[in-house]
């Protein structure tokens, strides 16, 4: 089965402001492994580098450093040309990711033909209908002939999922696949993704800012802060017993009707908007438990079974 592994992935963006050239590190030495049948949730606030990682993994952007290794069932590296047979993506906004000019059939038939899954119009049409049926868009013949504006948001996202499956992908990068959808539709789309994953033994990277769905939908959670992995581990561990102060803050901030009537959590950490001092722990400006050692860069420290946190609180010196 196909596995996708990154080691020390780095992406720098150059910013030009006047004559000054600056470098902005969007992704800072991120190592991830996506294995068949498992879902990894990548959690973080906007600007933390989640979507940049998605663009790197789908080869829309080139990494500045680090390695992306894709291995097939036999553990052999997949050559560059075949990369896109294996790795596909579901975009965040189904209103933007489907071309308004083309029919649903076009969106599914193109990847089928491009990746040599089908030959000839008739076989392609049958496969398009089969794909639509798999994502529960019925009647398939009717849906295939429609254009995106004739579909609801949830239906569009199902088409986008079918498109990702069309090349026979084994690794699916889902970049906030439900955040643009109405709340009552989200569940259905997530359930669909979960079922397809079971059926096809897919490796899924679920990118989200929502801790709750990450917990229910993913096996492992990776928390990203300013391009760095600050905490990772089994979903329930990370979210129910967060170790890193940032994850703790995230978990405490989620709306919770059970907290009704209690005083709101201290909001001081939320107002921190400084650009972050270079070097050291990226979170130390907002961290309630910042210490002197935080001026040095922390390493990922084990805090439990398969659970690590990049924080001096768990470091060797404390």
């Amino acid at each position: 089965m196909t596995t996708l592994e990154t080691t020390g992935l780095v992406k720098d963006y150059r910013i030009r402001s006047g004559l000054r050239r600056d470098r902005f590190r969007a992704v800072d030495h991120v190592s991830l492994a996506l294995t068949p049948g498992r879902t990894v949730a990548l959690v973080g606030e906007s600007g933390s580098g989640k979507s940049t990682i998605a663009r790197l993994l789908t080869r829309l952007d080139r990494p500045t450093g680090g390695e992306i290794a894709l291995r097939d069932t036999g553990g052999r590296p997949v050559p560059g040309r075949a990369y896109r047979d294996h790795v596909q993506m579901v975009f965040q906004d189904p209103f933007a990711s489907l071309n308004p000019f083309h029919t649903v059939e076009h969106h599914l038939a193109r990847p089928l033909l491009l990746h040599g899954r089908t030959r000839g119009a008739e076989q392609t049409w049958r496969e398009v209908l089969h794909l639509l049926d798999r994502v529960q868009l019925r009647p398939a013949e009717d849906i295939a002939r429609r254009r995106p504006h004739e579909l609801s948001g949830g239906q569009r996202q199902r088409v986008a999922i079918a498109r990702a499956l069309a090349p026979g992908a084994k690794v699916v990068i889902a970049d906030e696949p439900v955040s643009m959808l109405d709340v009552s539709i989200r569940l259905g789309v997530l359930n669909l993704l979960a079922r397809l994953q079971r059926e096809d033994d897919l490796a899924v990277l679920y990118i989200t800012h929502d801790l709750a769905t990450a917990r229910h939908f993913a096996d492992d959670v990776v928390v990203l802060y300013r391009g760095q992995v600050v905490e990772r581990g089994p979903a329930a561990e990370v979210i129910l017993r967060p170790k890193h102060p940032y994850t703790q803050l995230l978990a405490a901030s989620a709306p919770d009707p059970d907290k009704r009537g209690r005083a709101p959590a201290a909001s001081e950490a939320g107002t921190g908007a400084s650009a972050g001092r270079p070097g050291g722990c990226a979170f130390r400006d907002r961290c309630p438990s910042a210490m002197v050692v935080c001026a040095g860069a922390p390493a990922e420290e084990p805090v439990g079974d398969g659970h690590t946190a990049r924080c001096w609180l768990y470091g060797p010196r404390s």
Binding site: F91, S184, I185, L187, L190, G270
Partner: protein, 594 residues
């Protein structure tokens, strides 16, 4: 949007992708097409029926009449026959140049923008250079260099196309730059599409309306420029156009000899054709930018009868009674149906629902911010002031309304943090509200008040001198709330105030809202799709669906025992952070085609 089964979806419409790109039928378009059609028909067919335009007769310079519809020229040529042939000549040049210029501008604009990097820089520089070279003088110089005997229609067409494509290229480049960053282009790249296919199959069809508009523009430009060139005697030697007609009229002293029939018809044909093309172009522009569509006139209907202002119930500050709001479009949309809610002092009233349920429309109607085609068709909104006087909001005059808004009731809009003016400081923008509404306040008082409201929302008053881009998203949203607080209103309507923010920042803003409610006793109408958030912080909640309030209850009660099935469905859509893992996914067996 919750029950979009296959039956609820409209039947597929064939070719609707192309149809969406056709301009909407309007009087403007009809006149434009009529003018173009009539003139083109005249040019194409007219020349078949009129006699030889160059036949010389004895009679010189005769006014219309006597068998010659538009009279004769100095040398006795029939003006009508000349006009027919010249119109055809001008149209041919126009189409030729239009096509050439569009191809050139598409090549340099679209290709450069898609390729990016050095190619884009080079192409863009080249179009900019072509753009700053003044067109007509260059045309004159080029046309002047070509010897008259080899100056055919093609030569002139080529010269005009080369000098006329640059402006379109820039427009197309800008649009392509925007299109190439669309997700569907990224999706095509991820699917492994080749570059040329992405440009021709994914991008180009979406540029069609723009290309059509640029083509029409190029045709107008070509006909006018060719007429100018010919008028100067630099036109094509082997063809007759409206410009050459004017040239001969000028040389024959038509103006001095009052021979209007010689120079007015060709001038008029040029003007009318240009006018027709421009009218068509306006209609194409509406396809490119739907905002230009003129809002159709809304017939003034009988206004809603004035509300009976009754004394307020316990602490009620805003009372909405059986409100109906209808969007009067082709198919009227009943966005708010018979909604009655009341907001008490010091209360947070939550308004929950999904997109399109009418929650924002309701909020706008309460603040009287709804615009045509939205219209309140029934019901009333009554505001009860602190001193007990009641105001019928739907019947306030323009001045009273201005005083009412912001002073008594203010709003924080969706995405409001992007509403700050980027070129002035925070203080200038806060100050502006005070100078408008409190002209009597001194500058020092205003400064003190601005600092005070910032402190109220937890922003350091030192930030008054900051510009919007120097503040984070959460900070900007706090500034917007501060602005809403400036005039000490009794009610604030907040429309999705935290939707675009991260949970940690949202938590901070929510904390401020709760504190303002507790400290200042402000009543807050909080609109959001995030039901768990409302359940945590609101006092009462109204759940809306399809314009109706389906459940209206105390928040605690709604959390313990949601009464309406839709409320339960919404609640079950939000997984609990701490519940058993997978319970959410297993519970979600209602996987339909939704």
């Amino acid at each position: 949007m919750t029950n979009l089964g296959p039956a609820a979806v409209p039947a597929p419409r064939w070719g609707s992708g192309l149809r969406a790109m056709l301009p909407r039928w309007s009087l403007r378009l009809a006149i434009g097409l009529g003018l173009i059609g009539a003139i083109a028909l005249f040019g194409v067919l007219g020349s078949l029926f009129v006699g030889d335009p160059n036949a010389v007769r004895d009679a010189g310079l005769t006014p219309p009449g006597g068998g010659h519809l538009l009279g004769l020229t100095q040398t006795g040529q029939d003006v009508f026959a000349q006009l027919a042939y010249s119109t055809r000549g001008s149209l041919e040049i126009g189409l030729l140049v239009g096509a050439l210029a569009t191809v050139l501008s598409a090549f340099f604009g679209v290709l450069g923008a898609y390729a990016g990097g050095v190619v884009d820089e080079a192409f863009s520089l080249f179009s900019n250079v072509m753009l700053v070279i003044p067109g007509l003088p260059l045309v004159i110089v080029i046309a002047g260099f070509v010897p008259p005997e080899s100056r055919g229609a093609w030569t002139i067409g080529l010269v005009l196309a080369v000098t006329g494509w640059a402006a379109s290229a820039r427009v197309l480049r800008a649009q392509t730059l925007s299109l190439r960053n669309r997700d569907y282009v990224a999706a095509a790249r991820v699917a492994g599409e080749k570059r040329w296919r992405i440009i021709t199959v994914e991008i180009l069809p979406n540029l069609l309306p723009l290309l059509a508009s640029q083509f029409v523009f190029a045709v107008i430009w070509a006909i006018l420029s060719e007429a100018s060139l010919s008028f100067l005697g630099l036109g094509a030697s082997n063809s007759s156009t409206l410009g050459t007609m004017l040239y001969y009229a000028q040389n024959g002293f038509a103006l001095q000899r009052h021979a209007w029939w010689w120079f007015v018809p060709p001038g008029l044909v040029i003007a009318l054709f240009g006018c027709g093309l421009s009218l068509v172009n306006f209609s194409i522009d509406e396809v490119i930018n739907p905002k230009l569509r003129s809002v159709f006139r809304v017939r003034r209907r009988d206004p809603v009868p004035p509300a009976e202002v009754r004394p307020a119930g316990e602490n009620v500050v805003v009372e909405v009674d059986s409100l109906d709001v209808v969007y009067r479009s082709d198919v009227p949309v009943h966005a708010v149906k018979n909604v009655s809610v009341s907001l008490r002092r010091g209360e947070i009233l939550g308004l929950a629902g999904e997109s399109g349920c009418g929650k924002t429309t309701l909020a706008y109607a309460i603040a009287r911010l709804h615009r045509p085609p939205a219209e309140v068709t029934a019901g009333s909104v009554v505001f009860h002031d602190r001193d007990g006087t009641g105001t019928d909001v739907l019947h306030l005059g323009p001045d009273a309304l201005r005083a009412f808004r912001w002073d008594k009731l203010s709003m924080v809009f969706q995405g409001a943090m992007n509403a700050l003016n980027p070129v002035t400081t925070v203080r200038a923008q806060l100050d502006d509200v005070l100078t408008t509404h409190r002209p009597a306040m001194t500058a020092a008082d205003r400064r003190a008040r601005c600092a005070e409201v910032l402190r109220l929302v937890g922003v350091d008053p030192a930030r008054l001198t900051s510009f919007a881009h120097e503040l984070s998203g959460g900070m900007r949203q706090r500034v917007m709330i501060a602005m809403a607080l400036l005039l000490d209103p009794q009610v604030i309507i907040m429309d999705e105030p935290t939707t675009a923010l991260d949970v940690v920042v949202q938590r901070g803003i929510v904390g401020e809202i709760l504190r303002l409610r507790d400290e200042l006793g402000i009543a807050v109408l909080l609109i959001t799709h995030d039901l768990p958030l409302l359940l945590e912080i609101a006092d009462r909640i109204a759940v809306m669906k399809d314009g109706e309030v389906v459940e209206y209850a105390d928040a605690g009660q709604m959390y313990r025992a949601p009464a309406h099935p839709y409320t339960r469905e919404l609640l079950s859509s939000f997984p609990s952070l701490t519940g058993a893992r997978g319970a959410f996914l297993r519970a979600g067996q209602l996987e339909g085609s939704r």
